[in-house]
Symmetry: C2
Subunit: 392 residues, 2 copies
């Protein structure tokens, strides 16, 4: 099977080296990574197989990580990772969704082979793909090991993106722009909500003429009229009325690197209140964006936005944004830095955020957002859709 | 906010009653449901919000379940569930992805309000959205409660679908058919893989002229040529060569009810070996389908398939199929009954399965599958795409 790698081997080795340094600092001998973006980050592994137990196991005693998962996904691991074949392990299909067998018995054997029987083992306790049952099974199978929480250890290393990663983020942003443009083109009275979602999905996969897109970490969120106050609700198959508002949040994804983008669209002339809310949101967002530079904290950036809003007598309860990058469902977020009060993370060049000054006021809501990378001197927008209320 | 319910209130009450009976039998006072399909099944709740902690809590002492989740998803809960407003609780945004605060402190207060402080609490230990950290936090917040594993308790109740649910499964099947037809129409030499994925996604959301589609529980799996042996790999943006094979697995979804469908497509004349493998797979699948009837076990149905394959000197390692129904990412499966050796689940009318005799032989693979419902006398196919190798 031919290797399909999207980064130089040296980049994977640098990532691994940073992870091993963090492990040493925390006294972790063996790190069991179950979060799909972290598995991808360290090895390149990419397949939609995270609904069964699988790990990338990093041992300080072993040069390369070991991938272990379901037998039928072994080929995906050989194909998408830089790992040597002997570092790709698998368990048989009889362990999948079985009431009597646990794949963790096989996985534990690999941990023992890596010298982890009595080790300090780091696991991602707060991850999406490491259930309470998985943890109990692993503890049972490795009774002499000591387990510690290594949740977010890798996430905090990947918070700063390399030049090669930033190149993919820019491509993801171009896909997000194309998706939004298609939605704006299609939205019109009489068009069913599901047909707008269809157009957005089409462009998500088709990407651009130069490069294709990947599946997003979440479906597009398409909220019409009063459903704006239910930001994560599913679209319906009702046709758009003659005059309405539509909030659309979508996710451009290139080889799992993701850029988030929201816009509000008015079908028919917007009410003055709605237009005003849009103007206020964009003004506050632009103020915060202009303020971004290395050395400031997330909290400081948020405070600029907060003060700008306050001048209009408004406030936003939800955080202003969050770190983005590699992503898998269900998370369109990295679970690290947030642009919010109290988050003292210091901005560094290469960090990427989705700034989302969503404002909901009773029955109207505005969602005009901007993803950006922190640069040496300020910020670089990762998408180029104009920051405004679109009117159809 | 107007209620958007897709079932009669009486149907929700019957489901709740069955769950309460199962709780009593197992000595569970309070059941904390975190699996999105189970939350939907019991209350109607549907929003893409499961990347943060949220529960439907059933207490034997309380008539209605209580929904608790993030404040911004509260409106979705009011809108999509039959619950009275006072049974919809929420925690503030400051608890989301916070390093210092835990939403489980708020959630525990709701459990205490429901009389669960010293109760026997059932949790879904093996679910996708109940992490090892979530379990530890909940135990810490409710130190006097006793926790037991109630994983799959609700899944096994929803394994038999009601007439109203079967109606949605048929609609999901019609969407799956439309998606497959579009892929077959589009597939041709020179077309990029991502553009075929785009066409499939378009139809997933657009559905049919009568009803729209919802997002699937997984992306379409589109595996060209030798990548057939990597069944869960991502599509690429390479153009199809003049002559190749393509395996496509896709998911038609109607209001979260999902029907799975796979077909192999030959671009250019198929090799005799590939055509023969397709014929063998279809013959064995048809034999197994013809055998389906209430009272038989899953294992018995699988054995018919296994014997048919064996006549051609073939065998399949992976299971032959699995129960389907309500679904959310990442699971295109219900995690209950499997069509495989040793699964002694007895078929009942209303059960639905995806039968998938995928056959992989070195570098060729065939995936021609059929989703079906068990009826009083046999089976009802849930999709109508012909069971054959398509040739373009």
């Amino acid at each position: 099977m031919r290797k399909e790698l999207h980064f130089e081997k040296g980049e994977f080795q640098a990532r691994l080296s940073a992870v091993k340094t963090a492990m040493e600092k925390r006294g972790i001998d063996v790190l069991m990574i179950s979060e799909p973006p972290n598995m991808n980050y360290l090895t390149g592994y990419d397949a939609y197989s995270y609904y069964v137990p699988q790990f990338v196991i990093v041992s300080l005693k072993h040069e390369q990580p070991v991938w272990i998962g379901r037998f039928m996904d072994r080929v995906s691991a050989v194909m998408t990772t830089y790992l040597d074949d002997q570092n790709v392990h698998a368990y048989e299909d009889k362990y999948v969704h079985s009431a009597t067998l646990s794949a963790f018995d096989v996985i534990a054997q690999t941990v023992r082979d890596l010298g982890g029987e009595k080790a300090c083992i780091g696991v991602e306790l707060g991850g999406y793909y490491y259930s309470a049952k998985a943890h109990a099974d692993l503890i049972r199978a490795l009774p002499e090991a000591r387990f510690v929480d290594a949740d977010l250890l890798v996430n905090w290393i990947r918070v700063v993106k390399s030049p090669a990663e930033l190149a993919l983020m820019r491509q993801a942003g171009a896909i997000a722009d194309a998706m939004m443009q298609r939605a704006i083109d299609v939205a019109a009275p009489g068009v069913r909500e599901c047909d707008i979602a269809a157009a957005v999905y089409y462009q998500m996969a088709a990407g651009t003429a130069e490069f294709g897109g990947s599946y997003g970490c979440a479906p597009p969120f398409l909220c019409v009229a009063e459903r704006a106050v239910a930001p994560h609700a599913a679209w319906t198959d009702k046709p758009l009325p003659k005059s309405t508002t539509l909030n659309l949040e979508l996710f451009g994804n290139r080889l799992r690197y993701q850029v988030n983008l929201s816009r509000s669209i008015a079908v028919g002339p917007p009410s003055p209140a709605f237009q005003n809310l849009a103007d206020v949101a964009v003004e506050a967002m632009n103020a915060a964006l202009d303020h971004v530079r290395p050395g400031l904290t997330c909290s400081e950036v948020e405070s600029v936005f907060r003060r700008s809003l306050a001048r209009h007598g408004l406030e936003k309860e939800a955080r202003l944004g969050y770190s983005i990058g590699l992503g898998y469902p269900p998370g369109a977020v990295e679970r690290t830095a947030s642009l919010r009060k109290g988050d003292e993370t210091v901005l560094q060049p290469g960090m990427c955020f989705h700034m989302m000054p969503g404002l909901w006021l009773d029955d109207v809501g505005i969602a005009i957002t901007q993803s950006f990378a922190v640069t040496e001197t300020g910020h670089e927008p990762l998408s180029s859709t104009p920051r405004k209320l679109f009117v159809k």
